[in-house]
Symmetry: C2
Subunit: 428 residues, 2 copies
């Protein structure tokens, strides 16, 4: 198809790998998909939403307000409640009081899912040719956003508790030497039960990363931001919560915090939010105005009521228990089925198990393993999709992201069984 006349963005944009995987799933009956990042279906709060919507629409004034346009930044009461929720989480996680100013609703923006916030922040900060640092591995949809916009991504290695700080420093130092630091805008970090690795970044590392960025700001000539994607924060089923980067020194001025109600409440409701410092907040707000004037008021009222009336709070433990049990189904099956040459970690939250095969067994779309998996009717997300393509380090080509979020227990077991059989055949 000729792309003549499209913008550079229009010409560059590719079909996201995940759409292709989803089409495969739908078109092949009996496919066990461990690929999609869908949330659990059975635990969706249908009854709670039913009750809330009824209570809103039964009151004509409230009902009409919900069906009318709202403001671009979002519903005031939802912003208040979100600010309180975030502050309470950080106070509990840090064991310390936190100033309300850090969580001011005035710097809080409601978005159509937190994905929209990632897009808006990137629009507000990055020109074609700019750089963003990402984690190795990282959320592949975000890599697609960067690629489509001509923004360059460089990977920073991960350890079990977050970024490899020595590598981060090395990357910053080399960018300073090459002059590329002047085009670096931010580091993008999925800090809780990371998609895809399920790694949670400890608070000390958030603090250290911010301190490192500070050291390089004068050479960069502008602020270097820390985009904290906390999409999975609430999906914790073991261990304690960790404070957000907002709490660290410079958290108020350099952290772009992206949160969501899609994953912990209802993905079909698509309500996310961002807490942002100036001048990013104002720029993002205005761009959001151009996108859509503001997120559907109806959805916002729904979430505001869910928070105010305790539905959200009551839903979380149920959801966590549900994911914990699905996780157990998957890890149990992995223990039984995967050969010892496959490395993987037991996740403490989120939706994914990240498994790494021996390096002689690549898992990418073009690999024998992937094609055989397809033939055996099991799908996963190839790990190599989750790495920025820069030549400074070698990405893992033999990993896979296995999702236990969307599938039912039997589908999880079947998928792992099929993968295990294939791994045996490859003598891993």
């Amino acid at each position: 198809m000729s792309r003549a006349g499209l913008s550079r963005l229009g010409q560059r944009i590719q079909e996201p790998a995940i759409s292709w995987l989803m089409k495969l799933t739908l078109s092949q009956p009996g496919m066990a998909s461990l690929a999609a990042g869908f949330t659990d279906n059975l635990s969706l709060p249908v009854e709670a939403v039913r009750e809330i919507v009824e209570s809103v629409l039964a009151r004509p004034r409230l009902g009409r307000a919900a069906l009318q346009y709202g403001s671009t930044a979002g519903d005031e009461s939802l912003r208040d409640l979100t600010s309180q929720h975030l502050r309470a989480s950080d106070m509990e996680a840090s064991g310390k009081p936190q100033p309300s100013s850090l969580y001011s609703p005035d710097r809080l923006l409601i978005t159509h899912g937190s994905q929209q916030l990632l897009y808006l922040c990137t629009e507000a900060l990055c020109d074609e040719g700019d750089w963003v640092l990402v984690e190795d591995p990282t959320y592949f949809v975000y890599l697609g956003i960067l690629r489509s916009r001509g923004v360059r991504a460089r990977g920073v290695r991960m350890r079990a508790d977050g970024l490899d700080l020595a590598h981060l420093e090395e990357v910053l130092e080399s960018m300073k030497a090459s002059g590329e630091l002047r085009r670096l805008k931010m580091i993008y970090s999925v800090t809780y039960f990371q998609n895809p690795s399920s790694i949670t970044t400890c608070f000390a590392k958030k603090k250290a990363a911010l301190a490192l960025l500070k050291r390089y700001e004068s050479a960069a000539g502008h602020p270097l931001y820390y985009l904290e994607d906390a999409a999975y924060r609430e999906l914790r089923f073991a261990g304690d919560d960790v404070s957000s980067a907002l709490v660290a020194p410079r958290g108020a001025s350099r952290v772009l915090y992206a949160g969501t109600y899609s994953k912990p409440f209802a993905s079909g409701a698509r309500v996310g939010f961002g807490l942002l410092p100036e001048p990013v907040f104002t720029a993002v707000l205005r761009i959001k105005g151009n996108h859509d004037f503001g997120t559907s008021n109806f959805l916002q009222q729904l979430l505001a009521e869910a928070l105010a009336r305790g539905h959200f709070r009551k839903h979380l433990p149920r959801l966590r228990a549900r994911y914990a049990s699905k996780r157990a189904v998957m890890t149990q099956a992995i223990r039984e089925r995967f050969p010892s040459g496959v490395r993987w970690e037991d996740p403490q939250g989120g939706l994914y198990v990240w498994a790494t095969l021996p390096s002689r067994c690549p898992t990418g779309f073009q690999s024998r393993f992937f094609k055989q998996a397809l033939a055996a009717k099991v799908l996963y997300v190839p790990g190599d999709l989750c790495y920025a393509s820069d030549r400074s380090r070698r990405p893992s080509r033999s990993s896979m992201r296995l999702s236990f979020g969307g599938s039912e227990e039997s589908g999880i077991r079947t998928g792992i069984e099929r993968l295990g059989r294939l791994m045996e055949k490859h003598k891993l």
Copy 2:
């Protein structure tokens, strides 16, 4: 505030005039605002939505589907119903059968309001420095989108039935001569009860505009699209519907049709759609995936049910009657209060009256008239906001957009009365 480190877009983006106007409205008690483009509050279909949501959520399988992620293009049944709705409208308007292929759900995309579609089309087609032709006057928010993205806009004069074709040809010819035609991507036209002028473009003009664009395509070196913004199409309270540009020759390959359910059903639900030719459809779909993966499934189910169960069809006549009566309140007040030097047209649909004062009385933000109106507690949208700033022709500096959509009858009367008194003082 320092904007160092922001992208060019982030640095360029300005506060939309309408936000400023809305803040003024909210901060000043007793302000009669004829500025906001809000929809009528009393006619919002609270009971219908209540019934629909209840019927969806009472069925657990349907309810869960509504609260789960959907596909990026949108819910299949909503796309089917939208395609049928659009085809039926065009068949009725044209009095002819229209091929179903023209309205295929495969080229239909559901968006978070039609505003998002305008943004996505612009992203897919326009680079910084490209040109878009707009109407004189045009929807000022779209001008803001273009400005923020560094896309240049040139105005084409309007007549009572749409574009001034002679002027369009003149503009195209001069762009061809200057070489700028190679950067022209499309013409943006609000074809039904235009915001702000309430002009409806007749079908002959749509056809002629497409034919003219065709003549210049080889010199442009790429397709020249016709972005038809039909946001107000359903808000018709007099006269007959007009066929969309899709029906014209090349409609299938060159028309980007933007429609919405926000205005004719519930603005708080924010569901719009686009019917697009390739390669624009695929590019827009992928960019939409990067924005938000797809519009809230919950909202889409709501609209699909509203269409399938007849709520939408039943709502329209009520809504039209309501706007017709508010329009009558405004035009009656104008007849009584505005001096004879003020020109205005009685709208046949939409939400606005466009009034033009004698040219010696400018109405812009900096004008004496605007400041006096503010002091008299009445707000309007200054007409000069609605013109592309190019030096090729003189914009109207003495017009105003008066909205009867959002205000109550008494507010409309009060606002017009205050404006009329001020006009008398200016001896118009």
